[in-house]
Symmetry: C2
Subunit: 354 residues, 2 copies
């Protein structure tokens, strides 16, 4: 579970929730209910019901408002009751310290397998930003539940509307809620789910842990094994973070150390890191490519809500799943969607000399 | 229908929606579907399903975002589908130019009777402020629908939570949504619904129209027949109104004319008028008693979103239903709930010399 929480936090690109809380929740659920079977999406019956479950909200809030662990199952139960059908499997909507582990806890408590796949191949801040949207699958009916016992069923005209309604409800829930959404058939899952995500998350977690055990920073091994780019090394000198509209938004300025001495990089985030710019404003990496922050000494992934002044960090970049580089993909999660006047440029071409 | 819209607007105490739009909607629905039967709550089977329907939101927005007329039926349909049961009757959650007429339009389209009763005996700004709450009846499951085709089912832990979630959803719907809520049995309706509201609304509308036809201001006749108080006569010299948090909030200052020359009265509102104060700050009338604004010449009721600088008006007060003067009633709708540091004083004792 430590591997999953660590790998999820890394691929969560700053979002997707705190890995420590996520690990505890999943470990407790497995201790209570036994282990969870990981299945391939191809193992599903075509007419089986499959449901991703997740926590939604600002990661900053999740740190202060711990889930009880039963709300996500309550959301799944309410969705099953609404549909009049039982789920055959759950899966992760995104990678993240929390959103890679909550579905494991839900699967354990519900006695269901979990699919080796997810909807993003990373984390994104809004719930329409999934491969399912590109395949025409509705986020609705969607259920949201909170720790007080409130639950809501949403039926909206499109997935962007689902996000807008769910976001204001999340804020009213105190900043975070548990969700079950994108109910789909096995056949729909086979065409839309990004394959092998849990395996990838596990491998990343393994690399980080074995390098940590060998007292090496995992950045070089991750760069080699994941085709990643070590973008920058430095010290956090400024963090401007606010919880706004149900998101953790802000910027983080990092002054170079070692090979990057004298240079500066600025990261912009909305739950997840979205853009890395040099001091002259030139982009070094941008959404949908992954921007990950690692502790310079330990290689531990750092989420956007954990960053503090003085942290010594490595900024790390990874190419996104190919689906996100399509026109439909960039419409959903490209830099212009987030308000940046930039055309998407792949991280490898932005850093060709690295 | 003109009587209902007029009487509803009067008893709506400034809220409950625009009577002109409400009248058009109900007239159209009756022209399309035939007349609506008004029944006594005692005529219901004890296990029948009964559902109030209404528009929720800032009246200011309702003027700019006209309902298509089908959203309220969509809300009722979705609630029936969710419950797996058909409604035997609908009723008005409150009095109001729109909220007394929308249920008639829904009843006509659905081929259902409407109960001669409502949940407030006036209008109040929040949806937990109904006699049903005092009788322990849940607002949930509640359905909200908008003109775009979005709908949501709410299941909350109490009726105040229903209001809070529904309000943010209303804002996300563009400021107004159609709602079906407080699904209840005939037996529950018999113990909780305020009786005779549609008849009262109709009588008030009749008085206003016959006095208008006789070229008399209806205030004196309304004061006599409804045990009301003619509080003030003057000219609107200032209106401070903002649409905020899904409500129309503000204050309205009126300078005296005729018998009130030299004096001033200030009205405070949140969709509905909540408090009338003299120039020295002394209260003249307060929630849950009704504060109604009438055009000085025509006697036409004026809603909080219609008030403009220069209007010549009569401020009129009416005692509320006795249920609202109980401890439970004042907890729900008394002046302290709305943030005024005042103990409730009945309008008759505040204006004993009138």
């Amino acid at each position: 579970m430590t591997n999953i929480a660590l790998g999820g936090a890394f691929l969560g690109t700053g979002g997707g929730g705190d890995p420590y809380i996520g690990r505890l929740m999943a470990e407790q659920a497995i201790a209570d209910n036994g282990p969870v079977e990981v299945i391939d999406v191809e193992d599903l019956d075509d007419d089986a019901l499959v449901v991703p479950v997740a926590m939604m909200g600002a990661p900053t809030v999740m740190l202060e408002k711990l889930p009880r662990g039963t709300e996500a199952n309550a959301a799944l139960e309410a969705l099953q009751a609404y549909l009049g059908k039982r789920a055959a499997a759950v899966f992760c909507i995104e990678a993240g310290g929390l959103n890679s582990t909550i579905p494991i806890a839900v699967a354990a408590a519900a006695g269901l397998p979990i699919i080796d796949g997810d909807g993003m191949g990373r984390a994104f801040p809004e719930l329409q930003m999934v491969s399912m949207t590109m395949h025409g699958i509705s986020a609705c009916p969607m259920v949201m539940a909170d720790e007080k016992g409130n639950s809501l069923v949403l039926n909206t005209v499109d997935n962007l509307s689902t996000e807008k309604f769910a976001r204001v409800i999340t804020v009213e829930m105190g900043g975070a809620g548990l969700i079950a959404l994108y109910p789909m058939t096995g056949a729909e899952a086979k065409k839309s789910v990004l394959r092998g995500s849990m395996s990838l998350i596990n491998s990343v977690g393994q690399i980080i842990r074995s390098e940590q055990a060998a007292n090496r920073n995992p950045a070089d091994m991750l760069a080699r094994d994941l085709n990643g780019v070590r973008l920058f090394e430095g010290r956090v000198v400024d963090v401007d973070r606010r919880t706004e509209g149900g998101f953790a938004r802000g910027t983080c300025k990092i002054e170079g150390l070692g090979p990057d001495q004298g240079d500066t990089i600025t990261l912009e985030f909305q739950n997840e890191f979205l853009l890395a710019r040099s001091a002259d404003g030139a982009p070094r990496a941008m959404t949908p490519d992954l921007i990950c922050l690692l502790d310079l000494e330990t290689g531990q992934p750092i989420t956007t809500e954990q960053i503090r002044y003085g942290f010594r960090v490595i900024v790390f970049g990874l190419p996104c799943d190919g689906q996100w580089r399509s026109v439909a993909g960039l419409d959903l999660v490209g830099p212009r969607y987030f308000g940046y006047a930039l055309d998407y440029q792949p991280i490898k071409s932005l850093n060709a000399t690295n």
